[in-house]
């Protein structure tokens, strides 16, 4: 074989060997254990921070509200639907004996009209005219712009919770 071909072939051979070595070094450890991916990625995805506690967790400390809610129309609503993610709250709330939580641990209280309207605002899609076979899911709707909007005497906007108990509407 002529000299220049030998050189060329060894040049390519070196490149190939370098590539193979690099490959050995660079492939992540758990790659290919379960499939063409890093098996560790599953456990890495599993260790992220949680925010929602789950409704069962609230009953421990707010039993009365739970019982109250269970008797009303909002029975099937989970606490966190209205109050937002509460895992931190459930973890740290009892650390404060006097019952005064710092602001960062207090949960949101949906007292604005528009927050009730998210579910109760009149909307054609909520009436389920065509599918009324399943009537237990019919949601009672009001027109948030009309329903008891203003106080008759003071002419001020009224909050829904003034007349409805959110936990037992």
């Amino acid at each position: 074989m002529p000299q220049h071909l030998k050189r060329l072939i060894s040049f390519f051979a070196i490149l190939l060997i370098l590539f193979l070595i690099m490959r050995q070094v660079l492939i992540p450890k758990s790659f290919g254990q379960l499939g063409h991916y890093r098996a560790d990625a599953i456990s890495e995805n599993q260790v992220r921070e949680l925010h929602y506690a789950g409704s069962e967790n609230c009953t421990k400390c707010h039993d009365s509200i739970h019982i109250e809610k269970d008797e009303g129309y909002h029975k099937q609503l989970k606490c966190e639907v209205c109050h937002g993610p509460g895992l931190k709250h459930t973890q740290y709330a009892d650390k404060f004996k006097d019952g005064h939580l710092p602001d960062s641990l207090l949960l949101h209280k949906p007292i604005e009209r528009k927050e009730c309207a998210l579910c109760h605002q009149k909307n054609a899609a909520r009436t389920k005219i065509l599918f009324d076979t399943i009537d237990n899911t019919m949601i009672v709707q009001i027109d948030a712009m009309k329903h008891k909007l203003l106080n008759k005497k003071t002419k001020e906007e009224q909050k829904c919770i003034k007349c409805h108990n959110p936990h037992q509407p």
Binding site: Q3, H4, R7, F12, L15
Partner: protein
């Protein structure tokens, strides 16, 4: 607010109908338009070079070396737009070490490497090895070292070795032609295999990409050849240009037919997505599709080239016409890629609406970045022409085989 988000809010206000919220942002922008464009130029230029070598069209000789070097310099940057648009560019090596065999893009990495290292690099090496050894003896200093290193410090320039070089070069070209087809067909497949996107998902996509690649590559060589001779102040080989133009004409016809076929097929089948695509073509894509790609990029060059087959004006005029046509085609094919890549993302996969396209001048995905990746290959080409000038090669070699 970040400019990126600001852009998105502006796009949000321009959304027509309904698009999935995640679709408001166009994920592949100008850089991914460049990527098939540049790869196409490579494949096209190489096929032009191989016409000379395999089919022994010696009339194309003046552009042979130029076409090869053009292909090579564009090939070196072909993946750069792709890499620079990645969210994590530093992880790009993963494509090589853990390629996913069911992904068109992963296999592309290997097709690319094969084409760059085995086909282009080797062909040029065998082509120039002998010359580099001779030039090394004629020059001094760094350039001499460069030639030495590039020829891997070999010295054998006996006629036997040169004949062997030629023979291997020929074999590589023979391998190279299907490789060039593979390379660009594969780029087409990257788009054509996305079943979620009806604008892309067609079996003809690889073939269309291939032929438009040839068209653009040939036009590019023509363009560079005319400019280069202007700079070098020597007259253009008109017979060569006429032949190139002839091939350009034939391939343009095929390209046009294929794209027409694709559209006719779409229109006749009129699948679920037909309406949304129809509105897209006559709405947001009208200018780039009908005016830029259709009229300027295809119809005008086609008619002009057809006329030139029968009626040949004076050399000087013909040269200018060729130059203009080459430019028009280069622009036209750019917009063809644009219409595929951008067009395919302008409509929602829900088929209920359209988003719009907006990028800034600067930034990792802006126009400036795109301009860089268009200019760099020309700089590389200039360097290569300085280092390996095809016109200074010893003439007799290629005829040997």
């Amino acid at each position: 607010m970040e400019p990126h988000l600001q852009n998105l809010y502006e796009v949000l206000s321009k959304v027509d109908g309904y698009v999935y919220p995640n679709e408001i942002e166009l994920n592949w922008s100008i850089l991914i338009v460049l990527y098939p464009y540049i790869t196409g130029l490579v494949a096209g230029a190489f096929i032009l070079a191989s016409l000379e070598r395999i089919f022994k069209l010696h009339i194309l000789k003046p552009t042979y070396g130029l076409a090869l070097l053009t292909a090579f310099s564009f090939m070196l940057v072909a993946t750069m737009p792709l890499i620079s648009h990645l969210g994590k560019p530093l992880r790009a090596y993963e494509i090589m070490i853990t390629p996913h065999s069911s992904s068109a893009m992963a296999i592309f990495g290997f097709v690319y490497l094969w084409y760059l290292m085995v086909v282009l690099l080797l062909e040029i090496w065998f082509d120039y090895r002998c010359d580099m050894i001779i030039w090394a003896n004629e020059t001094k200093g760094f350039k001499r070292f460069l030639y030495r290193a590039l020829s891997l410090w070999t010295t054998d320039i006996s006629p036997k070795a040169v004949a062997l070089d030629n023979k291997i070069g020929y074999i590589i070209t023979v391998i190279g032609v299907p490789s060039a087809f593979l390379l660009h067909g594969y780029v087409g497949f990257i788009f054509g295999s996305i079943k979620a996107n009806p604008w892309w998902s067609t079996v003809l996509m690889p073939v269309i990409f291939l032929f438009s690649a040839m068209v653009s590559g040939i036009a590019l060589v023509m363009f560079i050849y005319i400019i280069l001779n202007k700079i070098r102040k020597i007259s253009v080989d008109m017979a060569c240009l006429d032949t190139i133009a002839k091939y350009l004409f034939y391939i343009l016809i095929i390209d046009f037919t294929l794209e027409g076929l694709d559209q006719i097929h779409r229109i006749y089948e009129a699948e679920e997505s037909f309406e949304v695509l129809h509105m897209l073509v006559f709405g947001r894509l009208f200018f780039t599709l009908f005016i830029m790609q259709g009229l300027f990029g295809t119809v005008i060059p086609l008619i002009t080239l057809a006329i030139l087959q029968f009626y040949k004006p004076k050399v000087q005029i013909r040269k200018i016409i060729y130059f203009i046509i080459a430019t028009l085609i280069l622009i036209g094919i750019f917009f063809m890629r644009w219409n595929v890549v951008i067009g395919g993302q302008l409509f929602s996969k829900s088929f209920y609406g359209y988003t719009s396209f907006k990028i800034g001048l600067i930034g990792a995905e802006g126009y400036l970045m795109a301009a860089v990746w268009i200019i760099v290959p020309f700089l590389i080409l200039t360097f290569l022409l300085w280092l390996l000038p095809p016109w200074k090669k010893k003439e007799d070699e290629i005829q040997v085989i």
